[in-house]
Symmetry: C2
Subunit: 421 residues, 2 copies
Amino acid sequence: MKAEILTIGDEILIGQITNTNSVWIAQQLNMAGIRVSHMASVADDEKAIAEAFDSAAKRADLVLITGGLGPTKDDITKLTFSNYFNAALEINKDVLEDVTRFFTQRGKEITEINRKQALIPNGCVVIRNANGTAPGMWMQKDKTIFISMPGVPYEMKAMVTDFILPKLEREYTLDHIYHKTVLTTGIGESVLAELIEKWEDNLASKNIKLAYLPQPGMVRLRLSSYGNNQEALKQNIEEEIKNLIPLIEKYFYGFENYGEENNNLEQEVSRLLRERNKTVALAESCTGGYISSLFTAIPGASDVFKGAVVPYTNEAKHTLLEVDKNVFATTGAVSKECVEQLAENVLKKFNSDYAIAVSGIAGPSGGSAEKPVGLVWIAVADKNGITAQRFQFGDNRQRNIIMSAAGALNMLRKLILTEAF
Amino acid sequence: MKAEILTIGDEILIGQITNTNSVWIAQQLNMAGIRVSHMASVADDEKAIAEAFDSAAKRADLVLITGGLGPTKDDITKLTFSNYFNAALEINKDVLEDVTRFFTQRGKEITEINRKQALIPNGCVVIRNANGTAPGMWMQKDKTIFISMPGVPYEMKAMVTDFILPKLEREYTLDHIYHKTVLTTGIGESVLAELIEKWEDNLASKNIKLAYLPQPGMVRLRLSSYGNNQEALKQNIEEEIKNLIPLIEKYFYGFENYGEENNNLEQEVSRLLRERNKTVALAESCTGGYISSLFTAIPGASDVFKGAVVPYTNEAKHTLLEVDKNVFATTGAVSKECVEQLAENVLKKFNSDYAIAVSGIAGPSGGSAEKPVGLVWIAVADKNGITAQRFQFGDNRQRNIIMSAAGALNMLRKLILTEAF
């Protein structure tokens, strides 16, 4: 089954919002064995939507559409559905009940605008909305299934998970896909490519596709294979991964679970801490709470994460984490001495097994000839001692924060692994 | 000039990465007066790319393409360019110099893989890459301009800003677009729509398009108008905004500067603090550093942000911020008493003008009948006192963190505005 994802909304085309719905839908379809071959975004405009429907119908078996279903006047997907499929709008009793209940439960009166949400094009399978007021619609034209969903992420997600995928799995025989992603850090894309060139040349004959996915601080290598035997695909890829790992041993740090977003260093570090029953605390100056927010985004974070201090001023570094005032006068806050004291003291204050401390100049201002923007000192500590390292990143504030986090997490990962388990 | 954005790469279609390049490009084109009417993503597959070129050529004057230009074998955009435009690949001397210099400066040998990056389809205008090794390519076919750029965001961004937009502005007469977005908080989309219904009905006659953009904690209202007189567009929209504001006074908190990402509550709060020469410090339990990372993502954060403590355990709440141990035994850490003590003590510790404290159950686990997942207490404080408020959000961890941050920032915003300035 070949699928396409269509997003409707001017807000995407003028760059006002990032299209995260398509990412999530693509992941879910992939895991269910449905290949996504095209994604598009068009305006809240009937002609543009109808043209996109026509193009998609030529190529795909399944078209998943999000957006343009809100109760307000700028949303015209339902009207387009009605015209395109030549299906009159009629009040659907179930949906009207859902919408009424939605407002009653919240102690609110149903408005005329909301009542119209119960209008459904004749012949659609209705997808009820457990989390909002706009229902989804499932319509088949010739061989192509068109499914329209609201753009609000959690409303759309519930429809995909609870209704659409189960129905597809019941009614169709789906293909199989196997992806596995190898994570590396501390090596650039082109050097990595040379290191594994011979291995890579061999992949085509095994029906495996390789992709390099570079990002600040890491390169991910994704192996993919498509076919009708899930077990054979898996064995095929796992065998090639066994051949790959020895070639990149120094840089390899783990695998990415497909379909989990942000499956990065913080998850690997959290996993290592959890299996050792250890904890970490942070002193984040230039990263400003970013590393802390990475750890705490993971459910169950409190098992391994004791907390953080973001001492954004020298005064706070001294008052909260007892950095010696002489440090500011001599080596300055962006220095080996400062991060070592921060790491040592945050370890004590939080009574944690490990600590990370980061201090640097994220930019765009605050640099000097001696200490340019992008200079970052990072220390990691445990009861046996402290290690500090100097990094020089670039001019971009956001990138410097991300690179500092990757550097810090990788230092902690290495420290954890040096110790007996 | 009508533009389309085409993203090439399997990683988008399998949902491995989020397409942020398209958002940024759309913003830049909009600000330059170029309307984006379509976005698409296709696989690293020559046939799919060529078909997307054909479709785009029928609709658009300009096609901006990202991705598939890396040095590794999975990247096939350049080969497709060469075949599609029937233009042989030839070594470009300037690009070869750029690539060689790129490696020499970093003390590295140029590899054979990298040398091939200097191959350019005959007849292309070359866009040199100041930040990497893959050059961009500008090619015209009939009336459509095709521009291919690397997918690495900062390499692509420099090409758009330094070469592509200046060249387009020199060589073409561009249209004008004016967008302005009104920010509201504390009101839902459909109630807002009823409140402004009459005003909205009037917009079509003024050639203004309105969009509702709901997100956790806020609804943004975007007004857009297209035409050939920038000043007239602006006046037209500003006049309608003057009519709108009195209707939504209780919920309105500011405007969004078009083209700035994340132009949200944290930027408004930072702006208010900056113009009053005031500072803030945070005690973040369930938000885990997220609010801190929002403040510190803004350049110049240190003027208004003194720091944060993330006391993720009761022990840390007591040791670092002196929460009375009786609180944990009686009302618990998710309580009015706890956030009031956190706010009061973080204000003192950081010697800041304002403080925020947040404690809640982000989920998915940790809830009880009495204190379900999604329960969050937030306090804001200044030298005159403390205000605490109870919020009940839903089941989703990520959403609860975002909603807590929005609630906390809005409480602080209101507190700042109650005081004389």
